[in-house]
Amino acid sequence: MTKKKSLLNDQRFIAALVAIVLVVIYLIFSKEFRKYTSFLSMLDFSYYDILMAYGVTFPLITGGVDLSIGTGMVCYALVAGQMVRNNGLPVGAAIVLCLVLGLAIGILNGVLIGVMGLAPFIATLSTCMITRGIGSMCSATPWPTTSQAGGWFHSIFKWTFGTGRQAFKFPFGIILMLVLMFVLEFVLNHTKFGRYTIAIGSNREATALSGINVKFYHVMVYAVCGLLVGFSSVAYAAVTPTVQPGTGAGLEMDAIGGVFVGGVSATGGYGSIIGSFIGTMVIMLLKTGLPYIGLQSNWQQIITGAVLIISVMIDIVKKKGAAAKA
C-alpha cells in the first residue's frame, strides 16, 4: 500500500499550527506582544531550552530519557562562571569547560545506561542529583555582562549595534539554532550514528544481533546529548543575570515536554530535530507569552500539560489508524 503523505499526518505540522495560533492570539490580545523587544526576550530565553531539547531528543528516540539536563546545565554554568570570577579564567576557556563538563556527564550517563545496564530514568536521576549537589557548592555567579571584559560571549546569541536606547539588537541565536537544527536532522537521518540511534529505539536486541556495537552507540547518544547541554549552559549564562546555585530542577521538563509536543514517539524509535524545535517553541510561547495576555502564569503549566496530553493522543490515534489500515 502506498501511503498518502498528508500534512495532517505529521505532528510537526500540527505543532507548528498551534504555535501560529498562539502567536496570532497574543498579537490580537496584547499590544505589548507586538513590540520587537518582546520577540527578542522570548528568543533570548528560548535558546537554552532549544539546545536542551535538541540534546534530549537522541536519548528519547532510543526509548530512554535524560533527566540530568536541567540541573546539569545550571551546574556547568556555575562551575565555569565561578572559575571566571575567582580564578580569572578567560570566557573562551569557560565555554570550552562547559562543553567538556557536559560531555563528561553525558558519557557517564551513557556508560551507566548502555554498558552497565541501568534504567535510563534511574541513571540520569542520579546524575541529576549529583550535578545539583555540585552546583549547590558554588556561590551565586554572574557571568560577565555585555559591558564587562569577556562580555563578548553574549554576541554568540545576540548582536548589538550601537549603545543605549537606540541600540539595535539582532537575535543571531535563532539563526544558529536553525542551522544546528538542519545539521542534527541530517545527522539523525543520514549518518550511521543517527540510524543506529533510531534502530536502538525500535529494537535494541535485534540491533545488537545484527552485529552493531550497541554499547558504543548508546554511550554516544548520551554523549551528544551532554555536549549540547554543555552548550545550553552558555546560552543560560548569557540571559540569567546571576546563576543561582541549587536551581535548575524542572527546567528539563520544559525541554522534554517540547520534544514530545514535536512528535517524538513516547516509546522510542521515532523522532525528529525539526519537531523538537517546533515543540520547544510551542512550550516557550506558552511559558513566556501567557503573561502578555494578562493570564496568571500558573495557567501556563496547566495549559502546557493539556497540550502535552493532546499531542501524545494524536500519536496514539495515528498509530491506531495505521493499524486499522494494515
Binding site: 505589548e32 523587544t37 549547590s136 530542577a249 524542572g250 493570564l295 496568571q296 502564569s297 493532546i310
Partner: protein
C-alpha cells in the same frame, strides 16, 4: 484520514476552549495554584535532594568559615556604629545583649533557607563573628533550594533530636515547621527565628525573633521611589502605571514587603490628590488597603506581577509585560530574584534610568548581589533597599546565647536601608551589600 482530521480539529478546539475558559479569569486562583506548585516541587525534589544536601551543607559551613576572617573587620565596624546609635538606626531592643557572656561553650544548630544566595553567606559571616566573640560554636545547614520545604523540616527535626541548647531557624515555609516547634516547646529548646518571623508559632517555643520589619522595609522602597516620581505623578494628565514584581504570594516576608510597598505607595499617591487602583495578582489586589478606584478610571495604577515559579526567567517575563506598557513610569522588584528579573527584562528594552522627565522608567530593587549593585552604580537602577543579613546573623547568635543562658528576651526588629549610588559605600550600608 477522516479520523485524523476530526482528531486534530478536536484538539484544536480543546486548546481554544482552554484559552477561552482562562481568558476571563486574569485574577484567578493564583494563590492556591502557586502553593500547590510549591508543594509539589518540594515533594518531588525532597527525596532527590536529601542525599546530596547534607554533604553540600557541610561543605558550605567549612567554606564560609574560611571566608570569614576577611569580613570580621566589617562586622566590627558596623556593630560598633549600630550599637552606639541603636535607637536612630531602626534596630530595637539591642540593649538586652549588653555585656552578654556565654555560660557554657554552647553548640547551636543553625538552619537557613538555602545556600543559594550570597544573602545567607553574609548572615553566616555575622554569625561567625558573634560566635568568636561569645566563645560559642554553631553548625549551619540548609536545603538546596528555598522551595525544598520538606528537606528543611527534616533538618529541623534532626537538630531537635540531638537536644541542643537552642536552635536558630530561618523557615522556608512558616506553617510547615509548627509541629516541630511544638516539640521544641515541649522539650524546652529555645528557638530564635531570624530573617523570617513565624506568626503562629506555638506558645513558648519562640525565645526571640530577629527579623527585618518587612512592612517597613517595603514602605522604605516606596518612599525612595516616590522621590524620583512624585513630580511626574503630581503633574500627570494621563493615567500612569507603577509596576511591582514579587517572586511569590505565599512567603510571609515577601507578602509583608510587597504589601508594605503597595500600601505606602497608595497613601503617597493619595496624598498628592490622585486616585489609585491595584491590579494583577489576586492575593495582593485583595490585601492592599486604600485603593479608591478601578483600573479604568484611576490616575495611578499599581500592577503586581507574580510568576508561577521563583525563577529569574519568569520574573523577567512578568517585568517585561509591565515595562512594555506605554504608561509605566516605575517598577519595584521585591527581592533579589525579582529585581534581577527586572534587570533581565531591561537588557532588551533599555528603558530603565534615573530621569523620569527624559522618559526613563525608575527601577527600585531589594537586597543586593553584584548584578544589582552594578546596575545601581551605573544608574540603570535608581536605588534599592537592603536588609542587614550580616547583623541579623550576628544578633541571632547573641539572642541564642542569651536564651541558652536562660534569659527572657524581647524581639529584635531589623531595619531596611535605602541605598543608591551615593551612599552604597557608607559604613552603615556597605557590609550588608553582599555580592
Amino acid at each position: 484520514m477522516k479520523q485524523k482530521v476530526v482528531a486534530s480539529l478536536v484538539s484544536a478546539a480543546m486548546v481554544a476552549t482552554l484559552f477561552a475558559g482562562c481568558g476571563s479569569s486574569s485574577t484567578s486562583t493564583s494563590t492556591s495554584a502557586a502553593s500547590s506548585a510549591a508543594a509539589s516541587s518540594a515533594a518531588s525534589s525532597s527525596s532527590a535532594a536529601e542525599e546530596s544536601t547534607s554533604s553540600s551543607a557541610a561543605e558550605e559551613t567549612s567554606s564560609s568559615s574560611a571566608a570569614t576572617s576577611a569580613s570580621s573587620e566589617a562586622v566590627e565596624s558596623t556593630s560598633a556604629s549600630s550599637s552606639s546609635s541603636s535607637s536612630d538606626s531602626g534596630w530595637t531592643n539591642l540593649d538586652q545583649f549588653d555585656g552578654l557572656k556565654a555560660n557554657d561553650a554552647y553548640e547551636f544548630p543553625v538552619i537557613v533557607k538555602s545556600f543559594q544566595s550570597t544573602y545567607w553567606q553574609a548572615a553566616l559571616k555575622g554569625m561567625d563573628q558573634a560566635a568568636s566573640e561569645l566563645g560559642v560554636t554553631y553548625s549551619a545547614q540548609g536545603p538546596n533550594a528555598e522551595s525544598d520545604i520538606a528537606d528543611q523540616v527534616n533538618m529541623l527535626n534532626t537538630a531537635i533530636s540531638s537536644n541542643p541548647k537552642g536552635i536558630a531557624l530561618a523557615a522556608c515555609d512558616t506553617s510547615s515547621v509548627i509541629e516541630s516547634l511544638q516539640t521544641c516547646a515541649d522539650k524546652n529548646i529555645p528557638v530564635v527565628a531570624f530573617d523570617t518571623g513565624i506568626d503562629d508559632a506555638p506558645e513558648g517555643s519562640m525565645a526571640c525573633t530577629v527579623v527585618t520589619d518587612n512592612t517597613a522595609a517595603g514602605a522604605t522602597a516606596a518612599d525612595g521611589m516616590w522621590e524620583a516620581i512624585k513630580d511626574t505623578v503630581t503633574n500627570a494628565t494621563d493615567p500612569v502605571r507603577i509596576g511591582e514584581v514579587s517572586q511569590d504570594a505565599t512567603a510571609l516576608n515577601i507578602q509583608q514587603r510587597t504589601l508594605g510597598f503597595i500600601n505606602e505607595m497608595i497613601s503617597l499617591v493619595q496624598g498628592a490628590g490622585k486616585t489609585v487602583a491595584v491590579t494583577g495578582n489576586e492575593f495582593y489586589v485583595d490585601n492592599a488597603e486604600g485603593a479608591d478606584a478601578d483600573e479604568g478610571s484611576a490616575d495611578v495604577v499599581i500592577e503586581v506581577g507574580v510568576p508561577a515559579q521563583t525563577t529569574v526567567e519568569l520574573c523577567s517575563t512578568e517585568a517585561q509585560t509591565i515595562l512594555s506598557k506605554d504608561d509605566t513610569i516605575a517598577i519595584f522588584g521585591s527581592n533579589q530574584v525579582a529585581a534581577e528579573g527586572v534587570l533581565a527584562a531591561n537588557a532588551n528594552l533599555s528603558v530603565l534610568g534615573s530621569d523620569v522627565s527624559a522618559g526613563d522608567i525608575i527601577a527600585v530593587g531589594f537586597d543586593a548581589g553584584s548584578t544589582i549593585k552594578g546596575a545601581i552604580e551605573d544608574g540603570t537602577m535608581y536605588g534599592a533597599v537592603t536588609q542587614s543579613p550580616l547583623m541579623m546573623g550576628y544578633y541571632a547568635l547573641y539572642a541564642l546565647t542569651a536564651a541558652a543562658n536562660g534569659e527572657t528576651l524581647k524581639d529584635v526588629d531589623a531595619p531596611g536601608y535605602w541605598y543608591n549610588a551615593d551612599n552604597m559605600n557608607d559604613d552603615q550600608i556597605a557590609p550588608n551589600l553582599y555580592d
